[in-house]
C-alpha cells in the first residue's frame, strides 16, 4: 500500500451467478463508462451502484439500492439523510464491516484508487429468495469470505480508516488509550519504529551535553526553550519519540537539576537495546515486512482481478518460518520483557500524536482508560487513532452527534485543520445539515437507500433541486429567521422491506406525479457537478 496505485484498468467482470435476480428491485441505472476527471484531483474512492441487503425473518431489507458517488483527494464529501436511510450502511459497506449474517453486499463496485474492494464478492455466497415468503436462503463459502476479509486488511487503516459514532462504545474498555492507539501504529508503521529503536545511540558522546542543556532550560519555565532542547536530545539519540519523553519529563518535573538529570539518564535505558531484544526486534521487523509485502500482493490481486497464488504461497511460507524461528520469544515471562522497548516506543509515539489533536495532558490521557475520559476527549482519541496512520480516506460516521455544541465546534475545527495538514479525503456522514454546511465541499443527499441529489455544498444549499432536499432544508429551524413557520415533510421514512415503487419519495412528495409511482427516476445532470434523481428534471443522463 505504500506505493500509490496508478489508475489501472478495471478488473474484468467475474462470472456472477446472478445473485438475487428474483428480489423486487427496480432496474438500476447503468453507469458503465468512466468520464475523464481531468480538471479535478484524482478520485480516491469511487462507489458504483452499491447494493447492500439485510436478510431478516420479515424479508429482505433493501438497505442500499444502487448507491454511486465519488470522493476526490483532499475533499470532504458529506452524506446526509434521515435515520434509517442507509448512511451508515454505506460507510460500513465501503470498508466491508457489514455484519454477515444478516447483511450482505450484493453487487456493485467500491474502487479505492483503482482497486476493487468488492472483488470476488459474488463468489462468496449464493442467495436464493423464496418468492412466496420473501425469505432468503444463503449458502456461504467461508473460505472465500475469509480470503476476502484478509484482502481488506491491506486497505483498512492506511488506506481507509474510520471514526465511529459512539466513542464510548467503539473503544475497548480493558485496554489503555495508549495500547489501543499504538496497536495501529505498530501495524502500519512498525518497521519504522523498529528501525528507530535499532538505530538508537543512547551512549553517543553528544547525548550527555544535550541532556545537561535540557536540564538547564527546566528552570526558565519557557516551553519553547524546553521543546528546542528536547529536540536536540532527540537528535542526539536518534529516536524521535525520546524527544517527547524528555519534554514531558522536564515539563512536569519538580525535581532538582541533579535529580532530573539522573531521571533523564535512567529513562535513556528505554532505548538501550539488549542483545536478546535486538534479535527479537529484527525478527519482528522481518515479519512486518512480509506482512507488508503480502498486503501489496492482495492489492495487486484486487486490481488485476485474479489471485496470485504463487506469490501468496511464498510469502505465507516465509511468514510461518519466521514465526516458528522466533517462537521462544513468545514464552510467558520473556515476552513481556523483550517487548518492552517496542511498547514504550508505541506509548511515546501515541503521546506525540495526542498532542497534535490539542489534548492538554497527553501523558495522563495515554495512560488512562476509556471510561476515565469525557465524550469529547474520547472522540479526539478516536480521531487520533484513525489519523495516526495517515490514511488516504477517513470515514467519519456521525463524529459529533453524541457531543455538545461547544465540543462539536472543537472537533469540527480539528478535522478541518487535520484535513489541510495531512490532505486526507473525508467521507462525513451525518444527519445534521448544518454540520455538513460547515465542513463539506460536496454533499450527497440520501433517501431510503438511494442517493437522490449530489452537488457542491454551496449549490445544494442555495438551489436544492430534489423535493426531499428542499423539504429537509426547510425543516431546519433557522437561527436568522426564527419567526418563520417550520415546514416539515409529511409522513416518515418508508419500510425498506417493501419500499414504495418507482421513486421512493413519492408518498411524501408534494410534487408527486402519476409517473413517479411507476418509474424509478434516472440520475440526471443539472448544472456543474449537480446531479439529481427526480422526474421533475429532464437534464442529460448523468454518467458516473
Amino acid at each position: 500500500m505504500a506505493a500509490v496505485a496508478p489508475p489501472v484498468t478495471l478488473p474484468p467482470e467475474l462470472p456472477t451467478e446472478a445473485p438475487l435476480s428474483s428480489t423486487p428491485t427496480s432496474p438500476a441505472t447503468t453507469e458503465a463508462e468512466t468520464t475523464p476527471e481531468s480538471a479535478h484531483a484524482p478520485v480516491v474512492l469511487d462507489v458504483r451502484d452499491l447494493k447492500t441487503y439485510f436478510f431478516t425473518y420479515d424479508g429482505v431489507v433493501l438497505a442500499l439500492d444502487g448507491v454511486s458517488f465519488k470522493v476526490r483527494r483532499g475533499e470532504t464529501l458529506g452524506l446526509v439523510g434521515e435515520t434509517g436511510c442507509g448512511k451508515s450502511v454505506t460507510a460500513f459497506s465501503v470498508v466491508r464491516l457489514i455484519p454477515d449474517p444478516p447483511g450482505r453486499i450484493i453487487s456493485g463496485k467500491v474502487l479505492f484508487r483503482g482497486v476493487d474492494l468488492l472483488w470476488g464478492l459474488s463468489t462468496e455466497a449464493r442467495i436464493k429468495v423464496d418468492k412466496k415468503t420473501g425469505r432468503a436462503k444463503i449458502r456461504r463459502s467461508f473460505r472465500r469470505i475469509k480470503a476476502g476479509l484478509e484482502r481488506m486488511s491491506a486497505v483498512r487503516g492506511r488506506g481507509i480508516s474510520m471514526i465511529f459514532q459512539e466513542p464510548t462504545q467503539a473503544m475497548n474498555p480493558v485496554f489503555s488509550v495508549a495500547d489501543q492507539i499504538s496497536e495501529g501504529l505498530l501495524l502500519h508503521q512498525g518497521t519504522k519504529m523498529v528501525d528507530d529503536l535499532l538505530g538508537a545511540t543512547p551512549d553517543a558522546p553528544e547525548v550527555r551535553p544535550a541532556l545537561e542543556a535540557l536540564v538547564e532550560t527546566s528552570h526558565g519555565n519557557d516551553l519553547d526553550a524546553i521543546r528546542r532542547a528536547s529536540a536536540k536530545v532527540g537528535e542526539a539519540v536518534h529516536v524521535p519519540s525520546f524527544e517527547t519523553q524528555a519534554f514531558y519529563l522536564v515539563r512536569n518535573s519538580e525535581l532538582s537539576s541533579e535529580d532530573l538529570l539522573k531521571r533523564l539518564m535512567r529513562s535513556l535505558h528505554r532505548i538501550r537495546i539488549s542483545r536478546i531484544e535486538r534479535s527479537y526486534l529484527r525478527r519482528r521487523r522481518r515479519l512486518m515486512e512480509i506482512d507488508d509485502q503480502l498486503h501489496e500482493v492482495y492489492l495487486g490481486e484486487m486490481r488485476e482481478g485474479r489471485v496470485d497464488r504463487r506469490q501468496r504461497r511464498i510469502l505465507r511460507g516465509r511468514r510461518t518460518r519466521t514465526r516458528l524461528a522466533g517462537f521462544y520469544f513468545g514464552i510467558w515471562g520473556i515476552r513481556g520483557r523483550i517487548q518492552k522497548p517496542l511498547k514504550d516506543e508505541g506509548f511515546w509515539r501515541t503521546v506525540d500524536r495526542l498532542e497534535e489533536v490539542s489534548i492538554a495532558n497527553p501523558v495522563q490521557v495515554a495512560r488512562g482508560y476509556p471510561h476515565e475520559l469525557s465524550g469529547g476527549m474520547l472522540q479526539r482519541v478516536m480521531i487520533t487513532m484513525a489519523l495516526s496512520v495517515d490514511p488516504v480516506i477517513l470515514i467519519a460516521d456521525e463524529p459529533t452527534t453524541a457531543l455538545d455544541v461547544t465540543i462539536q465546534a472543537q472537533i469540527l475545527e480539528l478535522m478541518r485543520d487535520l484535513k489541510t495538514r495531512i490532505g486526507t479525503a473525508i467521507l462525513l456522514i451525518t444527519h445534521d445539515l448544518a454540520v455538513i454546511a460547515e465542513v463539506a465541499d460536496r454533499v450527497c443527499v440520501m433517501y431510503a437507500g438511494q442517493i437522490v441529489e449530489t452537488a457542491r455544498a454551496r449549490d445544494l444549499y442555495q438551489h436544492p433541486l430534489h423535493p426531499y432536499t428542499q423539504g429537509l432544508l426547510a425543516s431546519i429551524p433557522n437561527l436568522e429567521r426564527p419567526d418563520k413557520k417550520l415546514s416539515s415533510i409529511p409522513g416518515s421514512v418508508p419500510d425498506l422491506i417493501r419500499p414504495p415503487s418507482g421513486c421512493r419519495f413519492h408518498p411524501r412528495c408534494s410534487y408527486a406525479m402519476p409517473m413517479c409511482k411507476e418509474v424509478r427516476p434516472p440520475t440526471t445532470l443539472e448544472g456543474a457537478e449537480h446531479t439529481v434523481a427526480c422526474h421533475l428534471f429532464k437534464g442529460p443522463l448523468a454518467v458516473e
Partner: protein, 392 residues
C-alpha cells in the same frame, strides 16, 4: 431577583439539588454532585421559557424539580403565586442577598434572620415542596412533562389507548365513556389516527411516539408542561412536525412551556425567553431576541458562535472553547466558567458574580458587567466581547 413583567404561572427561588456521592466505609456521604446550585426562574402564563446548556449542566434536574418529581435540597417553587406574594418574596430574597448569608443557613443580621423566618412561613403556605400529598396530586394534573427519549418513556406493554388514558384514570376524570372520548380527541389533536389507539408503542416511529407522549401530557388539560429535549432523538423533518404541533397547542390551549434543549436554533424558534445554564447555575436570562442578538455572557457568546449554520456561504468568526465542562462534583471556585472563559480576569477565580440586570430584562452573571456603583469594580469593558451573535 426576577422582576419579569406579566403574571407568573410558576416561579422557583434559589433551587438547589445536591446528589450525594457515597463511598468509603458504610457508604457515607463523601461529596456532592451539585447538579443545581441556586437557580431562580419563573414561567409566565402561556409563555415558553427556553432552558439551554451543555449536557450535565443540570437542565433536566431543574425541570424535574419544578414539577416536584424530585425533592430539592433547598429552595422553593410557587405555583400561581399571588402578586403580593411575589413582591414579598422579591423583597425578602433581596434582603437576604445583601445580608450575604450562606445559602439556606441562618441570616447574619437581625433583618436576615427575620427574612428567613418569613420566607419559611410563606413556603409553608404556598411552596410546592411543602404541600400535602393529596393537594400535590391535584396539582399534578396541571403540571406535566414530556420526556426526552420517546423509546423508553412509554410502557411497551400498554396499548396507546391505555397510555394516553392512564392520567385520566388516575385522576378519575369523568366516566369511562367520557375518558374514551377524550383519548380519541387527544389522538386527533396530536395528529395521529384513531386506529393507532389499538397498537403498542413499538409499532410506531420516533416522531409518532413523541406525539403519544405529548398526548399523554395533554390529557388532563395542564397549564404548564416541561418539554425535556422533546426532539433531540428525532430527525429534522420530524422535529419540525413536533415543534409545529407544540406551537399550535400552545396557541389553542394557552399552555406555558419550559423548553429544555441543548439545540439553540430550536430554542430560538420555540421560546419567548431564554435562560442559559452552566454547571448548575443560570448565567444569562433574557428575552429570546435580546439574547440572540446581544449575548452578553462569554459562555453564551461561545455557545452561539458554536452553532453550525446551514449555509456554506456564511462564514463567521467562532469562539472555540478550550477543554470540557468541569465536574459538578468539584465545581471551580468563583465564577464557574472561569476555567474555560476567553475573557478571564483575576477576580473571576475567587468571587462569584451575582446575577444582575445589565440591560432591561437582560440578566447576566459575569464580572465583565459590574453592578452600577458596586464596590470593587474591575475595569468595565467599553463594549461586550466581540459580538458573534448572528447579525440580523
Amino acid at each position: 431577583m426576577l422582576n419579569t413583567p406579566g403574571i407568573p404561572l410558576i416561579s422557583s427561588y434559589n433551587l438547589r439539588k445536591y446528589f450525594p456521592i457515597r463511598g468509603g466505609l458504610f457508604s457515607t456521604r463523601i461529596g456532592d454532585v451539585r447538579a443545581v446550585d441556586g437557580v431562580t426562574l419563573d414561567v409566565m402564563e402561556s409563555e415558553t421559557l427556553g432552558l439551554v446548556g451543555e449536557s450535565g449542566c443540570g437542565k433536566t434536574t431543574v425541570g424535574r424539580l419544578m414539577l416536584r418529581l424530585i425533592e430539592p435540597t433547598s429552595g422553593h417553587t410557587y405555583y400561581h403565586p399571588s402578586p403580593e406574594t411575589v413582591t414579598r418574596l422579591e423583597s425578602l430574597y433581596s434582603t437576604l442577598q445583601s445580608d450575604a448569608s450562606p445559602p439556606g443557613n441562618g441570616g447574619a443580621t437581625v433583618e436576615g434572620k427575620a427574612a428567613l423566618k418569613e420566607l419559611d412561613e410563606i413556603a409553608n403556605q404556598y411552596s410546592l415542596y411543602r404541600m400535602r400529598k393529596s393537594k400535590m396530586k391535584e396539582l399534578r394534573g396541571k403540571l406535566q412533562i414530556v420526556f426526552q427519549d420517546p423509546f423508553s418513556s412509554l410502557s411497551p406493554r400498554m396499548l396507546v389507548r391505555d397510555i394516553i388514558g392512564e392520567p385520566l384514570a388516575i385522576h378519575h376524570a369523568g366516566s369511562r365513556s367520557e375518558r374514551r372520548q377524550r383519548v380519541a380527541e387527544l389522538v386527533q389533536e396530536v395528529g395521529l389516527n384513531p386506529e393507532h389507539l389499538w397498537r403498542f408503542p413499538h409499532e410506531f416511529s420516533g416522531g409518532q411516539r413523541q406525539r403519544i407522549g405529548i398526548a399523554r401530557a395533554l390529557a388532563l388539560r395542564p397549564e404548564f408542561i416541561v418539554l425535556d429535549e422533546p426532539t433531540s432523538a428525532l430527525d429534522v423533518s420530524v422535529q419540525a412536525q413536533i415543534l409545529n404541533i407544540l406551537k399550535k397547542l400552545q396557541a389553542e390551549q394557552r399552555l406555558a412551556y419550559m423548553f429544555i434543549s441543548h439545540h439553540l436554533s430550536v430554542v430560538r424558534a420555540m421560546s419567548h425567553r431564554v435562560a442559559v445554564m452552566y454547571l448548575g447555575q443560570i448565567v444569562e436570562r433574557a428575552a429570546t431576541e435580546e439574547l440572540f442578538s446581544r449575548p452578553l455572557h462569554p459562555y453564551t457568546q461561545a455557545l452561539l458562535s458554536a452553532i453550525p449554520i446551514p449555509d456554506p456561504t456564511l462564514k463567521r468568526e467562532r469562539i472555540v472553547l478550550k477543554g470540557d465542562v468541569p465536574s459538578p462534583a468539584a465545581p471551580p471556585s468563583g465564577c464557574r466558567f472561569h476555567t474555560r472563559c476567553p475573557a478571564v480576569m483575576p477576580v473571576c477565580s475567587h468571587a462569584e458574580p451575582p446575577l444582575i440586570e445589565v440591560r432591561k430584562q437582560h440578566w447576566v452573571s459575569c464580572h465583565l458587567y459590574p453592578p452600577p456603583g458596586g464596590p470593587g469594580t474591575p475595569t468595565p469593558p467599553s463594549e461586550p466581547l466581540a459580538s458573534d451573535g448572528p447579525a440580523s
